[in-house]
């Protein structure tokens, strides 16, 4: 398929899939708590509702940053699904995250500030491992290009199990799930008063939600790269990963920021760097040959 077609499909399908995933997430979480849970399409109802609410702001410029956050998040996913460079995707993702934080800082309220500083700490915690993923995938497939990685004869998960586990740890942060929902928690956790999104209401909040859907689809795509040997197998594996994230979300309480930072870096160092070191040594001593 040509990149243009993929881009179009991504632009249309990603929010639908993302919203549906959010609905599945809420339903499964409810079942795990012995509740019935909302309808599957609930996230879409929520966004439709937010769209017709009054656009209340502290400062009007705060919405400007969120618009950039949205555009860059969509752009990040577009780069990824058009088969572009993983490093470029990574830095675009970071940039979009930064705009979200700037928006929260612009809103100038204590809750928003706490959310924004926690988000920055979380970014520090998860970015090294996300970057290491790109490095690991390069070692295995000799390319940063998403297209080449998917088309490669290797199955990265076999050679990069440590990197993958550390990445899953970081995904818990990216998906804003417990135990790392420090910066902005999802439904039914209200003691943080929604952190980053505290001061956003109405259409802007809807935009944040849609951006989150786009982002989730991109992140699941990122996980897919590890299982890219076979389409069905890959999608199945990604579904299992998503379910695992939900299980962890429902069995864990929230941890403190320092623990989040330390543990993420330890995971990155031990599992991520360790994995890459072992891979390198194997190649140096000629035990493993990657073509």
């Amino acid at each position: 398929m040509s990149p243009l077609w993929r881009l179009l499909i991504y632009l249309v399908a990603a929010p639908l899939i993302g919203g549906l995933l959010a609905g599945i997430d809420r339903r499964i979480s409810a079942r795990m708590q012995a509740r019935l849970g909302p309808p599957l399409l609930q996230p879409f109802y929520d966004v439709a509702k937010l769209w017709c609410k009054e656009p209340l702001v502290v400062r009007r410029s705060q919405n400007f940053y969120i618009l950039f956050f949205f555009v860059l998040t969509v752009f990040t996913g577009a780069l990824f699904f058009c088969g572009s460079d993983l490093l470029l995707v990574f830095f675009a993702l970071t940039l979009s995250g930064i705009f979200f934080v700037l928006g929260a800082f612009k809103a100038s309220s204590p809750y928003s500030f706490v959310g924004a500083s926690r988000e920055l700490i979380q970014m520090m915690a998860y970015e090294p491992i996300v970057l290491l993923t790109a490095v690991g995938l390069y070692m295995v497939t000799h390319s940063f290009s998403v297209d080449t990685i998917v088309g490669s004869a290797q199955t990265p998960i076999i050679l990069l199990p440590g990197v993958f586990i550390a990445l899953m740890y970081a995904m818990e942060m990216k998906f804003r799930k417990s135990p790392f929902d420090l910066a902005a928690s999802h439904h039914a956790h209200q003691e943080l008063v929604r952190g980053l999104t505290t001061e956003f209401a109405g259409p802007t909040l809807a935009l944040i939600e849609i951006a989150h859907w786009y982002e989730n689809v991109m992140l699941l795509g990122w996980l897919f790269l590890f299982f890219s040997i076979h389409w069905t197998l890959g999608l199945l594996a990604v579904a299992v990963c998503f379910f695992l994230l939900l299980v962890v979300d429902n069995v864990c309480g929230r941890v403190k920021w320092l623990f989040a930072l330390r543990s993420a870096w330890i995971m990155t160092l031990v599992l991520g760097c360790g994995n890459i070191l072992v891979l390198w040594l194997l190649q140096v001593f000629g035990i493993l040959k990657l073509s």
């Binding site: 849970g37 309808p39 109802y45 769209w51 017709c52 656009p55 400062r59 009007r60 956003f200």
Partner: protein, 301 residues
């Protein structure tokens, strides 16, 4: 289809009393009742909420809190008073510190009596509030389109608190332009405004029963009518409300030979509108380190 009826997010606040009703609100979220089935989410953030659930008889200490939460909720919104204390003050009604019912502080849409109120009754109350929310949304959508049918009237002394609120909300965008929250319009108090009211003509622009914009003006006795403090709520901007108000206030001074108006030097949007209405700048005057007033005038035709 607005989705509003399928996704009512609530915020709950316990305005004193025995806390029993408040616990019943939380019981609604538990597996036994699971209100998330109806898309109801407990937000804990007024800016995300659609329905305000208040329990308890409001007292002198938390009047302001209730008011504040209500004010921070974006329209359309609805208020449900849960339990007999919130409905009327209940057994605390005669207490010296109790206001007696939430409706003494904010407008209430649905009353759900009970001591303590049962979760089934709470869910029923929220469902009734949904109808009200939907009606409000329709009215809101209509009022945006109905900005063209804004009624312009002389304001009365009873309007002053609302006018002051409109002015302060409207001038937020100015404060942002200059990074300065000390603009006179933002610092004005109600007594100062009342003093202004005695000397000036106040016009209010009413959209669907709510004041959306206002302006004031006075004749200086030498043939010049000064027009001040044009305020339009952000939600209603871009519909020509400001321009119509200025035209209306000019008509209030038939004897004036010239009209004078001023704004900040970086308020490009204001200057643009005034220039389009035939005003020309004739002098500038520094106000403080951040702001320079631009004075504009127009000869009476």
């Amino acid at each position: 289809m607005s989705g509003l009826q399928k996704s009512p997010w609530v915020i709950h606040y316990d305005a004193s009393s025995c806390n029993g009703c408040d616990i019943e609100v939380l019981a609604c979220l538990t597996p036994g009742f699971d209100v998330e089935r109806f898309g109801i989410v407990n937000t804990g953030n007024p800016k995300h909420a659609d329905i305000f659930l208040v329990t308890g008889s409001v007292n002198a200490q938390n009047r302001d809190v209730v008011r504040n939460i209500y004010d921070q909720m974006p329209e359309p919104k609805a208020v449900v008073a849960l339990g007999i204390c919130a409905t009327s003050g209940g057994i605390f009604r005669e207490c010296y510190n109790v206001s007696g019912g939430i409706d003494t502080v904010i407008p209430v849409d649905v009353y759900v009596p009970g001591c303590a109120v049962r979760p089934e009754a709470i869910i029923d109350g929220v469902v009734q509030a949904l109808g009200i929310l939907e009606a409000r949304r329709a009215a809101m959508a209509a009022s945006t389109f109905a900005a063209g049918v804004m009624m312009i009237e002389r304001a009365t002394a009873a309007d002053l608190p609302e006018l002051l609120a409109v002015q302060k909300v409207a001038y937020q965008s100015e404060a942002e332009i200059y990074g300065d929250a000390s603009l006179p319009a933002l610092r004005q108090s109600l007594p100062e405004m009342t003093a202004d009211f005695d000397k000036m003509i106040f016009l209010k622009g009413v959209v669907n029963g709510k004041i959306a914009a206002c302006v004031r003006g006075y004749d200086d006795g030498q043939g010049t009518a000064n027009i001040l403090r044009l305020s339009v709520l952000p939600y209603f901007r871009g519909h020509g409300l400001g321009r119509r108000l200025v035209t209306a206030i000019e008509a209030e001074f038939p004897k004036a030979k010239r009209f004078e108006i001023f704004t900040g030097h970086r308020s490009a949007a204001n200057i643009h509108i005034y220039e389009k209405m035939g005003y020309k700048r004739f002098k500038t005057e520094p106000f403080n380190a951040n702001v320079e007033w631009v004075y504009m005038e127009k000869k009476s035709s």
